[in-house]
Amino acid sequence: MYGTLSKRDLALELQSQIPILRPSIHSRRANLTVKFQDLYGFTVEGNVDDVNVLNEVREKVREQGRVWWALEASKGANWYLQPEISNGIALKSSLKISALANAITLKRLIRKGIPPVLRPKVWFSLSGAAKKKSTVPESYYNDLIKAVEGKVTAATRQIDHDLPRTFPGHPWLDTPEGHAALRRVLVGYSFRDSDVGYCQGLNYVAALLLLVMKTEEDAFWMLAVLLENVLVNDCYTTNLSGCHVEQRVFKDLLTKNCPGIAAHLEALEFDVSLVATEWFLCLFSKSLPSETTLRVWDILFYEGAKVLFHVALAIFKMKEDELLLTHHVGDVINVLQRTTHELFDPDDLLTVAFDKIGSMTTTTLSKQRKKQEPAVMAELDQRLRRLNSLKMEDK
């Protein structure tokens, strides 16, 4: 375990300072499960320790906020918005010491978390969404929404079906207003890219983007930059081929980084994609607590899709001992589900993700994807041909 003891001590100390969310002595004694809302309005079920961890996280978020404000005060409000920063290659050619220093500071800062109030602004600029938006007329989003109003497609039917099934019970998402906003973003995007149209899973991603970005137009652009620039191509298109590729790359990385676990799971005939597919398609939003998910997304929008591999590997790595003791597929899944649901402290996860997992570059990942593509295509093609020949026989 990583620092559980010290965390608890700290939490106890903090408990005396933070009255919110403090459970009664009775529930602590009985070790009861308590229900409460987290920073983003999601209902969380956990025990008293979890509440303490969340309080500690809130305090860390506040501290991070102070660091960001101090930087804004000394370097100017938009100090991180220099175009070179997010592009390592351009950086070399324009070796400006201050830009380099800022880039290093920024990467470190972002790994420690962007304060929730600054997220909309920082994500929007650093992800490339602002740039994407600036290449089209100001009225693009409104025009798109007006143009597609009342149109019915396979995508819109599926979206309508999923609206009440997206984080049901959330105090804003699960209201007529929330449904309408989510619908406009998803329907609008389904017309922008007809290859993607609508893929289940994007409902969760877009919902969380709406919660963070506050305005649906910004959420729309974040979704666009995510699918068009940040993630690998074809993750969400007709046969999810991009997702199949990512899963194969992930399996190779697991064998490399956690050979013991990989061998054990193979002996159990446990395919890691059984759990990791959802992680990659929903970008962890259905598995990790909200602030932990958003901390992963902070890095995703600045450093790219490699963070997904770091985090997925870390989840296995953190539970190495426990996983090696499992005998059944069901036990493996229980360990992983419990782990992800209880990762209330993002730093527990991200420390492992970056300190205990070998570094990988976007270039090496691209190479590995290229390597896997032919096999994936062949597999998908083979299945289609088999199914088609079945149809022929049937006639």
Partner: protein, 200 residues
């Protein structure tokens, strides 16, 4: 754990069917006895387990509840590989979902385990007024293709436990062996059960 005369069987079961047919609701009703009007949409697949006692055996179902959207079908082989049983679910108020169910039957019969126990579930049986698929039609189809058929309602719980019990009873190792011999224990699922009961 195992007492003499009892058999412990682990059985992988997969649910397949059109989006919104009620796969997750059936599982939730069976595993937790609950029903919610709006069940979170399943991405990839969700895992559940539930144990049933049938005849002299205890059957532990390892249930894979899969995502229904068409493009997720490319993932399905991962979930039905090695499955001992499948429930193919359609919404009896939706004809297209019945057609989709037939395609799943085809795919499983061509690709799945040849001894797989297959059930056809006509779900949402509580919505009688909206019925689009008759019980006779589904029953005939099931008989012709070697499945057993039940109309279910996850909402009212009608036939939900029954369909899982029926599957459990039909699993090869649950049926009384015609000529009891050590041979029955030699195939793989039984081996895995034995390994589990001594170590867990």
């Amino acid at each position: 754990m195992a007492t003499s005369g009892n058999k412990n069987i682990n059985a992988k079961l997969v649910l397949l069917g059109d989006v919104g047919a009620g796969k997750s609701s059936l599982v939730l009703r069976f595993v937790k006895g609950q029903f919610v009007e709006f069940q979170e949409s399943t991405i990839g697949a969700a895992f559940f387990s539930q144990t049933l006692a049938v005849n002299d055996a205890t059957v532990k179902f390892e249930i894979w509840d899969t995502a229904g959207q068409e493009r997720y079908h490319s993932l399905a082989p991962m979930y039905y590989r090695g499955a001992a049983a499948a429930i193919i679910v359609y919404d009896m108020t939706n004809l297209a979902s019945f057609e989709r169910a037939k395609k799943w039957v085809q795919e499983l019969q061509a690709q799945g385990n040849p001894n797989m126990v297959m059930a056809l579930a006509g779900n949402k049986a509580d919505l009688l007024d909206a019925r689009k698929v008759t019980a006779e039609e589904a029953q005939t189809y099931a008989q012709e293709h070697g499945l057993f058929f039940m109309e279910t309602s996850a909402k009212t719980a009608t036939n939900v436990n029954d369909i899982f019990y029926e599957i459990a009873k039909r699993l090869p190792r649950v049926q009384p062996a015609p000529n009891p011999s050590g041979m029955v224990l030699m195939d793989r699922p039984a081996e895995r059960t034995a390994a589990a009961s001594c170590c867990s």
